[in-house]
């Protein structure tokens, strides 16, 4: 292993280790705050006709009546061994359910991210080179409009167009990638499109501004003076210096896509973690809520650790510590 690689791995491990207290704090707060939720898991299980005595009895049986710190330690003891408990009603192992649903959310988030980047970055480069032109203005207006469209509107409009009117894509549902790749692609299309509406516009605006600033640097003028073509300058000279900022935005976007896609998942009935956390909160399924929070915080920590290291990989002038 080379010295720089060792250095990167060490830095990555330090960042992950620094994230552990964050995971512990957030999951503990989730345990403590669950006491403030109206109703209780026992009430949810037993139904509306349960007596207070029955609810108290079940709370005691499941340990729901213990102080928050005791409940937390009990949960943590299981979690470090990979045991996150079972779902409230179907009694499925939470870890299994979470893995399956996280895989769905990851696939959609990654696909949305790649699609958004594939559209936004070339477009932003092209428009930065034509800054101030009519077409640049048109794209900027379009990007602003796309940013202004809330997800709950885009899901309805795109569903109406592609599912109901054109009937090209399924309205809801999910087929796992390894079960039928083609059907998976058809089912993933609408959720990815909906998530990409916002992301394309966001990446376009950030990247265009970055590229514009880079294109005004002296080394670009120097490249132009040497007679390099515009496409060559854009790809070879403008793209790389702008990447750190874009990488930061990608990190933020990925966390948004992984944690904030519950509207898209609910609307298209995609069994991801966004939809699951909504249902779990409504159902008082605390084991599931806790596990999802743990996973979400871990994702944040890992993504930002990767972003930090990405800076150093892109720009060797930045020191890795």
């Amino acid at each position: 292993m080379t010295a720089p690689m060792r250095s990167y791995l060490r830095a990555f491990a330090i960042r992950i280790a620094a994230g552990i207290p964050v995971v512990l704090l957030v999951t503990f707060l989730a345990t403590a705050l669950s006491d403030l939720m109206p109703g209780s898991a026992a009430q949810a299980i037993l139904g509306e006709f349960a007596t207070p005595e029955q609810i108290a009895q079940l709370n005691a049986a499941y340990g729901y009546d213990l102080p928050a710190w005791q409940r937390y330690l009990r949960w943590l003891g299981g979690a470090v061994q990979g045991d996150f408990g079972v779902t409230l009603y179907s009694q499925q192992p939470v870890a299994e359910v979470l893995l399956a649903r996280a895989a769905v959310t990851f696939e959609i988030a990654l696909a949305a991210m790649l699609l958004s980047l594939a559209i936004a970055i070339p477009l932003a480069l092209a428009m930065a080179a034509r800054a101030g032109s009519r077409i640049d203005g048109a794209f900027r207006i379009a990007a602003s409009a796309m940013l202004a469209v809330p997800t709950f509107v885009s899901v309805v409009v795109l569903s109406l167009l592609f599912s109901i009117t054109l009937r090209w894509l399924p309205a809801t549902g999910w087929v796992p990638l390894f079960e039928d790749p083609l059907e998976n692609l058809r089912h993933i299309a609408l959720p990815v499109l909906c998530l990409s509406v916002h992301q394309v516009a966001y990446f376009f605006r950030v990247a265009r501004n970055e590229f514009l600033a880079t294109l005004q640097q002296d080394f670009i003028a120097s490249a132009r003076a040497k007679g390099f073509s515009t496409p060559y300058i854009l790809w070879r000279h403008a793209l790389m210096p702008s990447l750190p900022q874009i990488l930061t935005v990608m990190g933020l976007s990925l966390t948004y896509l992984l944690g904030g896609s519950f509207i898209v998942e609910s609307f298209f009935a995609v069994p991801g973690i966004g939809w699951t956390v909504l249902a779990a909160v409504q159902d008082h399924d605390l084991a599931m809520v806790q596990a999802i929070l743990c996973l979400t915080v871990a994702i944040f920590v890992i993504v930002f650790a990767c972003v930090d290291l990405g800076y150093a990989l892109i720009d060797p002038r930045l020191e890795v510590r």
Binding site: P38, G39, A44, I45, L46, G47, E48, F49, A50, T51, Q54, L58, A61, Y62, T87, L88, Y89, S90, Q91, Q92, V97, V156, S159, S163, I164, R167, P170, A171, T172, G173, S266, F267, F268, A269, P271, W275, T276, L278, A279, A280, Q282, D283, D285
Partner: protein, 525 residues
């Protein structure tokens, strides 16, 4: 194309029969012969919470009782005409409305191999009525559970403490599911209960919040059925997404209302089927405290709001006609002699002024849950009430899951609106739940000895004239006391693929799933 439903008792002399006895369902006459095999998917907005056979609620297709029925099967069920049909049992009959005889079918077993016999039924009903039971009908079952006697493995005799002509309907609505006693005894907590029944299907897999897959029970008592190999219940929270899925063919059917379907009901390959339940839309007055304790305030609300327009605001569809009383014109109990107050803004203002003079300002807190339909309804009411001099309304939204607790338990409201249409095409058991003292649907906490006596009298006789007389009295009292705000009626509907055969609804909409089959082409009306 036309089709008839199996076992429908349109030919029955309802007045002379207490309950129906059928050894086998009548031969179905479908638009095409049923086809064996295939798969169907019923979609719903939320998942079930457990397999307790005694916990029953929500009779809409795809709802919790529909899922339980697939596993356990109705012991007897109420058809769309309000008549009791044999289900897992052959019959539940009585000659005098006091002694009831349940005749079970021979050779029926639970999926764990234990017999579905009189002992099993007795054990389930004893459990439902026992102290600590989670059944909504616990008290009712407890009132007659001691009168159960196992005559032989296929016969259970139930001697009621008094005559009850609607006992079979109540069983079908309140305790219709029987689970394996071995499973029930083995379960230490509600979460340990497993779906071990003798119904048409068995559970293959359940992914909480996503859906479940059921497969044909090879040992179902009716060897010909179920026709389907696989039945899926899929959860799709958004109404529009559910509709799109059916329209596209991603699922077989969903329950809902025409105002939700819009023109999707005319989409190719799709049809809408009406389930005649005469569901009533209702709001509850707080009889324990606040302005609506005063009968003038209740009358004022009826007079202040045009209920046709209110329904239009609620459903975004015109053409509704406000109901006059609890029973509709199609009911044999209906009388035109008594009606709730109609829209009369001048009278409403007079009443509001009179209340204000007595130091009772017409200030109304409307409590409902944050759903777009309910919001439109509450906001329309608020707007109309605020337009009257000296009247004002505020809206408080609580989570749907907490509405019952807020309204019925805490009584923290003046006017509380629950969504959905409540089945009222037959009289019982809902009429007693809504109007009887302590009734589980009586969120108003309305209490009238006279009303209780009339409701009880109607269930204690088998004489149709006496029953009608009681219910005419109920309508008179309803128009006088205004126990709740009756603002609309509607039927339930299924939006479904037009190649869906064997749609038989019971108990307000639940599908008798053993009859479902996939046609070769369009076959549903």
């Amino acid at each position: 194309m036309s089709m008839t439903r199996p076992g429908l008792p349109a030919w029955l002399p309802a007045a002379s029969l207490l309950a129906l006895s059928l050894s086998l369902p009548a031969a179905p006459l479908w638009a095409q012969d049923p086809v064996r095999g295939g798969e169907m998917t019923i979609i719903n907005g939320s998942d079930i919470k457990g397999w307790d056979p005694a916990v029953t609620n929500s009779t809409y297709p795809g709802g919790p009782m529909d899922v339980l029925d697939a596993i356990y099967g109705f012991i007897v069920y109420v058809d769309v005409n309000g008549q009791v049909q044999g289900g897992m049992a052959e019959s539940l009959t009585s000659e005098d409305a006091v002694t009831w005889v349940l005749k079970l079918r021979e050779g029926v077993t639970f999926t764990d191999g234990t017999p579905y016999d009189a002992e099993a039924v007795k054990m389930n009903w004893d459990r439902a009525g026992a102290e600590g039971s989670l059944a909504s009908a616990r008290d009712w079952v407890a009132s007659w559970a001691a009168g159960m006697e196992v005559v032989d493995p296929l016969t259970l005799k139930i001697t009621l403490p008094g005559p009850n002509a609607i006992f079979a309907q109540q069983v079908a609505e309140l305790v219709p599911f029987i689970a394996s006693p071995a499973m029930l005894e083995a379960a230490a907590t509600p979460a340990d209960l497993k779906p071990v029944g003798a119904g048409a299907f068995t559970l293959d897999s359940w992914d909480q919040g996503i859906g479940m897959t059921l497969v044909r029970n090879p040992d179902y008592w009716d060897a010909e059925r179920p026709y389907l190999d696989t039945l899926n219940f899929k959860i799709i929270p958004e109404t529009n997404s559910r509709i799109s899925t059916v329209v596209q063919g991603g699922a077989t059917m969903m329950a809902g209302y025409p105002y939700q379907f819009g023109n999707n009901a005319e989409a190719p390959g799709v049809t809408a089927k009406e389930i005649p339940i005469r569901g009533i839309y209702r709001g509850y007055f707080n009889f324990e405290h606040g302005i609506f304790q005063d009968p003038r305030a209740r009358e004022a609300l009826y007079a202040a709001i045009n209920r046709d327009r209110l329904m239009q605001a609620y459903t975004q569809t015109a053409g509704y006609e406000a109901p006059g009383n609890y029973f509709g014109e199609g009911s044999s109990y209906y009388t035109a002699d008594y009606a709730v107050p109609g829209y009369d803004p001048e009278r409403a203002q007079e009443l509001i002024d009179a209340l204000a003079e007595d130091g009772k300002p017409f200030e109304v807190e409307i409590v409902t849950y944050p759903n777009s339909d309910m919001k439109r309804l509450a906001e329309y009411m608020q707007q109309v009430i605020n337009a009257y001099d000296g009247a004002s309304a505020t809206i408080t939204e609580v989570a749907m899951a907490n509405l019952r607790d807020t309204c019925s338990n805490q009584m923290a409201y003046d006017f509380c609106v629950d969504g959905g249409a409540l089945v009222s095409n037959g009289a019982e058991p809902n009429i007693s739940k809504l109007l009887g003292t302590g009734g589980t649907l009586n969120w108003s906490h309305y209490s009238s000895e006279e009303m209780d006596a009339l409701l009880e009298a109607a269930t204690r006789t088998v004489d149709e004239d006496e029953i009608r007389e009681s219910y005419v009295g109920v309508q008179k009292l309803f128009a006088e006391d205004l126990p709740f705000y009756l603002f609309g009626v509607d039927n339930r509907f299924l939006l479904m693929r037009d190649d869906t055969g064997g749609v038989v609804n019971s108990n307000g909409g639940i599908l008798q799933k053993q009859y479902l089959f996939k046609c070769d082409g369009p076959c549903a009306e």
